[in-house]
């Protein structure tokens, strides 16, 4: 089944390009460690999900590109075409000359309704090209104006018009120390709206990915392109084909549906994160060997201690002893905090994958009490290796990891709101103080729900 990607704003478009590039180069990689027939099945499945075929054999990404100014889209289109291996559809993009000025209100209340018809039209055309349609993957940032405002508007529209299809939003959490001054306002408005209209929010924090580039990849001068490539690698390792549980001979047909089913058991808890091991620069990779036991041990500790990457994991954090009463409301100030999960999905790819032991993830102490580990934990194993890594493991998790960052953003936005700074920029375009208050309320609710796991 196919996934239609909607790339919104500068961030969404820049990332989208890297994602498609990573997906296609992995599917054409010669280091799959499996037989030819297997490889061909993998490639076919990947292509069906993300690309449609053109006459002269160059796959076209199933994507709609939206931005309010032309430069980024033009750049993205030409970079894709230059690669020679794939490209974007010629008429798959929508842009204006004006920009959204980092103003969520402008994106949501002005650009959204004004261009609703054109954008939804483009999306519809892309959906119609799919033989069987699985759902939407929407890439956007929270801090800017286009990605956040128009993203929220489009997701709402998709919910109205495609109520039977799934929507997963890939959101980029901005750097803690400013990229955009009003990022906290834009973020809370986006999150509160998406919580109502999206099915799952897959979050990537710029700070975390930046650290991965610095510590694991050893990149000295980190650019956004480096960050986006790390992101694309993580997304690729989740979305590339995997075997279905029923038979080890067919690739999974409905990746989005399966992901949602496993990871979002309750609509109050929608925030997902990705962690992967191993992740390193190509130079280091040449000198490293891995065992499944080692990788999974690290991954489990990363989950428990809320570490975002393989380095600097706190090994002191342990799951609470079962049998003891639950610790009550999670204190946001505790250092040795244990990260409780609602649901986890581990995807393993590579050599000897059947021998990998994931029992460590089935420990009931890792999970909240209202879901049995047998329902809360799933594992997908695939022989075919991903992108030069002989063995790779990725964990998609619905857990308390985002509580602290969310709490921080809500806190900062609240302080700013109390002084009424910048509010006139939003009321100018129809977002009133009550809308802000509504957003604050819904997000405080989300924080509280996650804290009380």
């Amino acid at each position: 089944m196919s996934i239609v990607t909607v790339q919104l704003g500068q961030c969404g478009n820049q990332i989208g390009f890297e994602v498609f590039d990573a997906l296609l180069s992995d599917s054409h990689s010669s280091q799959g460690l499996c037989c030819k027939r297997e490889n061909e099945a993998y490639q076919a499945s990947c292509k069906e999900r993300f690309f449609s075929e053109e006459e002269n054999g160059v796959p076209i990404a199933r994507a709609v590109l939206v931005d309010m100014e032309p430069k980024v889209i033009n750049q993205t289109l030409s970079k894709a075409a230059q690669s020679g291996r794939w490209k974007y559809g010629q008429h798959a993009c929508f842009c204006q000359k004006q920009g959204s000025g980092n103003n969520w209100a402008y994106g949501y209340s002005v650009h959204g309704p004004r261009h609703e018809e054109s954008i939804m039209d483009l999306i519809r055309k892309e959906v119609e090209k799919c033989d069987s349609f699985s759902g939407f993957f929407i890439i956007m940032s929270m801090a800017g104006g286009t990605g956040s405002g128009i993203g929220a508007f489009v997701t709402q529209n998709l919910q109205d018009q495609y109520s039977n299809s799934l929507k997963m939003n890939q959101i980029i959490w901005p750097y803690g120390t400013g990229e955009v001054i009003v990022q906290n306002y834009n973020s809370i408005l986006t999150l509160s709206h998406l919580y109502r209209s999206s099915d799952a929010l897959l979050v990537h924090e710029n700070d975390a990915v930046h650290k991965i580039c610095a510590k694991l990849m050893n990149i000295k001068q980190i650019s956004f392109s480096d960050i986006n490539q790390v992101l694309a690698h993580q997304l690729g390792s989740v979305f590339q084909p995997t075997y279905s549980a029923e038979s080890s001979f067919h690739y999974r047909r409905n990746p989005l549906g399966d992901l949602m089913e496993h990871l979002v058991p309750h609509p109050e808890f929608k925030m997902l994160s990705i962690r992967n091991v191993p992740h390193m620069s190509e130079n280091s990779l040449a000198y490293s060997t891995f065992t499944w036991a080692g990788l999974l041990k690290h991954l489990r500790q990363m989950l428990i201690s809320n570490a975002k990457m393989e380095e600097g994991i706190d090994w002191h954090v342990r799951p609470p002893l079962s049998g003891l009463p639950s610790l009550g409301k999670m204190s946001l100030n505790k250092d040795l905090h244990f990260n409780t999960s609602i649901a986890n999905l581990v995807i393993l790819r590579g050599k000897d994958v059947q021998s990998a032991d994931v029992e460590g993830f089935k420990d009931p102490a890792l999970y909240t009490s209202w879901l049995e580990p047998v329902n809360a934990f799933n594992v997908w194993k695939t022989q075919r290796a991903f992108s030069k890594y002989e063995k790779s493991a990725v964990l998609v998790s619905n857990s308390q990891f985002l509580v602290k960052p969310l709490d921080m953003i809500v806190g900062k936005a609240w302080n700013m709101f109390a002084s009424k700074a910048y509010i006139h920029q939003y009321t100018k375009f129809g977002i009133e103080e009550e809308d802000f208050l509504d957003s604050f309320t819904s997000l405080e609710q989300v924080v509280a729900s996650y804290c009380n796991l």
Binding site: N102, G145, Q221, F224, T441
Partner: protein, 271 residues
């Protein structure tokens, strides 16, 4: 928003550059044509047309301001974003600008130290295009528009480095807006334009009000204005009171300068 620029500051800047160039201190490392002030390379002679040099600086400011809208970059910013991010309250829309570097070195591979120097310079008193010292006043917001081969990690590193020495208002502790444009200005490998919404504009307005009042008290030259159709004395009084209100707002903000940052009580949810 308004970017006030002071002729005195511009003149100070070009005199400083002149002094440095003519004293030979910079030696062979400075490319003659790269001076922000030079239009046709007349180097050794004292500036016969200082206004040309001064206007050159302002022209460069405008170029840098619009570069992200004209050229590609990894983090674009257009003019709307400037007013969105830097104007927290409608009346407080005056931005102090500073431009670095004012000349370049011939060394193409600028090591990080020189790059960091560029960031430090942008906050020094001498590089401001208004006679003001933002470092010792309160920041409401700050924007950094970087051009050239500078990546996000360089910007972050410098923000972390400079943050402790700058004072930001309590509700905007991380009030930075950054933009990255890939194309550097002609003759430079990278450049930085910093726009700050800072209470350091207050002295400028106070001086302006003082000079105004000196004339207005004596009603000097007033009749020339009042002769014109539609101009009345109330225009003058309104102008003064609006200026006074503005100064008052800045005063109020300054009063919060050294107060500790307090987290306000949040909404509590019934579970």
């Amino acid at each position: 928003c308004v970017l006030p620029i002071d002729n005195q500051s511009l003149f100070d800047i070009i005199s400083k550059i002149d002094l440095m160039v003519n004293s030979g201190k910079l030696g062979t490392t400075v490319k003659p044509k790269s001076l922000v002030t030079s239009s046709s390379g007349a180097l050794k002679t004292r500036h016969k047309k200082p206004f040309d040099a001064m206007n050159n600086i302002v022209a460069n400011l405008l170029l840098n301001l619009t570069s992200s809208a004209r050229f590609e970059g990894s983090l674009n910013m257009d003019l709307n974003e400037i007013s969105m991010n830097l104007v927290p309250f409608p009346q407080l829309h005056y931005l102090v600008s500073s431009l670095t570097p004012l000349y370049t070195l011939t060394d193409v591979n600028i090591p990080p130290r020189r790059l960091d120097q560029m960031f430090s310079d942008a906050f020094s008193k001498d590089h401001q295009l208004l006679r003001a010292d933002p470092k010792h006043s309160l920041y409401l917001a700050c924007a950094l528009m970087v051009r050239g081969n500078v990546q996000i990690s360089d910007v972050r590193r410098n923000i972390e480095r400079l943050k402790p020495s700058l004072q930001f208002v309590s509700w905007n502790q991380e009030g930075w807006k950054t933009s990255l444009c890939s194309i550097p200005p002609v003759g430079h490998s990278h450049s930085l334009l910093a726009l700050a919404n800072n209470t350091c504009v207050k002295p400028t307005f106070m001086e302006l009000k003082e000079r105004f009042m000196r004339l207005y008290k004596k009603k000097a030259h007033l009749h020339h204005y009042l002769q014109v159709e539609g101009m009345e004395e109330s225009c003058f009084t309104e102008a003064v009171s609006s200026l006074s209100a503005l100064i008052q707002e800045y005063n109020q903000l300054d009063a919060t300068k050294n107060m500790p940052v307090q987290d306000l009580p949040r909404l509590s949810i019934a579970m």
